[in-house]
């Protein structure tokens, strides 16, 4: 085994028979997930699929956001993988829009893993699809560490959640490629402090591209679509 060797003798005990040998391991705890995610990414790239992993707290509007996207961009053949702790409600809502939807009921597990996505993808007809949307479990902590093989990661935050959300969940926001501020239609009623949230995002996750939308009314969504189209153009399988 190349990845482990004895690197020393423990000195924790005075008695020789209680001293162990130290084996070097140096392996990522989530290495298995990372391997499967890498396989997923290669598989999705071969299929010419744009893959978006959507994350947020419960109630930020992930399902509404995806439903709006599916309805506005019906030109993009899409499949959806929905992670939910227990229910099938979100999948039903998205299916109503005509998309092919597979539900992963995690049974209490707080995040999706790459293997779950691989299994769900097996149940989808990906041929001819351009877009695979993954609605992660509503949680801003656990899913951050799990690469699913996505092309980019969207973290959704709504105007009712408090402008300090990025400061409370930096681990998640730091992994975001895109941050979508949702429910802008009720920003005023909610007393939303836009400059404060924008400043917090700029401080915690300057790498992320930020969009302000109302998934309910559709306002602001075209700017996100332009970003998505740019991503898809890079993924496109050359004809012939």
């Amino acid at each position: 085994m190349t990845d482990r060797r004895t690197i020393g003798i423990s000195v924790l005990s005075d008695r020789d028979e209680e001293r162990g040998r130290l084996l070097e391991v140096e392996k990522g705890v989530l290495a298995r997930n990372q391997e499967i995610a890498t396989d997923n990414r290669a598989r999705f790239a071969r299929a010419g699929l744009g893959v978006v992993n959507v994350l947020s707290s419960p109630g930020s509007g992930k399902t509404t956001f995806l439903a709006r996207l599916l309805s506005d961009r019906s030109d993009l053949p899409a499949a959806v993988i929905v992670g939910d702790l227990a229910t099938d409600n979100d999948a039903e809502r998205l299916r109503e829009g005509g998309a092919e939807v597979v539900q992963i009921t995690t049974g209490g597990v707080c995040h999706l893993e790459a293997a779950m996505v691989a299994g769900a993808a097996d149940r989808l007809e990906l041929d001819g699809k351009r877009l695979l949307l993954i609605e992660n479990v509503g949680n801003l902590v656990c899913p951050a560490a799990y690469d699913l093989g996505e092309g980019f990661r969207v973290v959704l935050v709504s105007v009712t959640e408090g402008e300090d959300k990025p400061l409370k969940y930096p681990g998640m926001f730091k992994t975001a490629d895109v941050v979508v501020i949702n429910k802008m239609d009720i920003a005023e009623a909610a007393g939303f402090d836009r400059p404060a949230l924008r400043a917090n995002l700029a401080a915690v996750c300057p790498q992320a591209t930020v969009f302000e939308v109302s998934a309910r009314t559709g306002a602001g969504m075209p700017a996100f679509y332009a970003h998505l189209d740019e991503h898809l153009a890079q993924r496109a399988v050359p004809l012939g």
């Binding site: 085994m1 482990r4 690197i7 423990s10 924790l12 209680e18 001293r19 162990g20 040998r21 130290l22 084996l23 070097e24 391991v25 140096e26 392996k27 990522g28 705890v29 989530l30 290495a31 298995r32 209490g108 597990v109 707080c110 995040h111 949680n139 902590v141 656990c142 951050a144 560490a145 990025p166 400061l167 409370k168 969940y169 930096p170 681990g171 998640m172 926001f173 730091k174 992994t175 700029a202 401080a203 915690v204 996750c205 300057p206 790498q207 992320a208």
Partner: protein, 124 residues
């Protein structure tokens, strides 16, 4: 991260199970029967609470070669890189606001602090 604690237990348990699996595999490959100690490296922003991981490990190890093993957690600070100044810098802000100490501009280029690794296993 205090905010992670409320929803963190389930997460840390599955992380702890992976740690035990990796340790048991290393011990098995070494033909060792007993694991005394497992070392892990946890990034400050890996989304894992050290206390919760330790508690989860004490459960996950039961019934394995690591049954009596101790978990040794070393925490890695967040280190970011500033492109303008071309320097790496430690971030001690618990919210992860990574301003370059020279120019004050926040950086999203993370060089360490997100890792989650098993570093060593002590066997006998």
């Amino acid at each position: 991260m205090p905010d992670g604690r409320a929803v963190g237990s389930m997460h840390e348990l599955s992380i702890a199970r992976s740690v035990v699996d990796l340790a048991v595999r290393a011990a098995t490959d070494d033909a060792s029967e007993r694991i005394l100690r497992v070392g892990v490296r946890v990034g400050a922003f890996a989304g894992v609470d050290a206390g919760a991981l330790d508690a989860a490990f004490s459960v996950a190890r039961l019934g394995t070669a690591a049954e009596a093993a101790a978990l040794e957690i070393s925490t890695v600070p967040l280190v970011c890189h500033c492109h303008d100044c071309d320097v790496d810098f430690d971030v001690d802000d618990r919210h992860g606001v990574a301003r370059c100490p020279r120019c004050g501009v926040p950086s999203g280029d993370i060089r360490s602090g997100m890792e989650l690794e098993v570093t060593f296993v002590e066997v006998m």
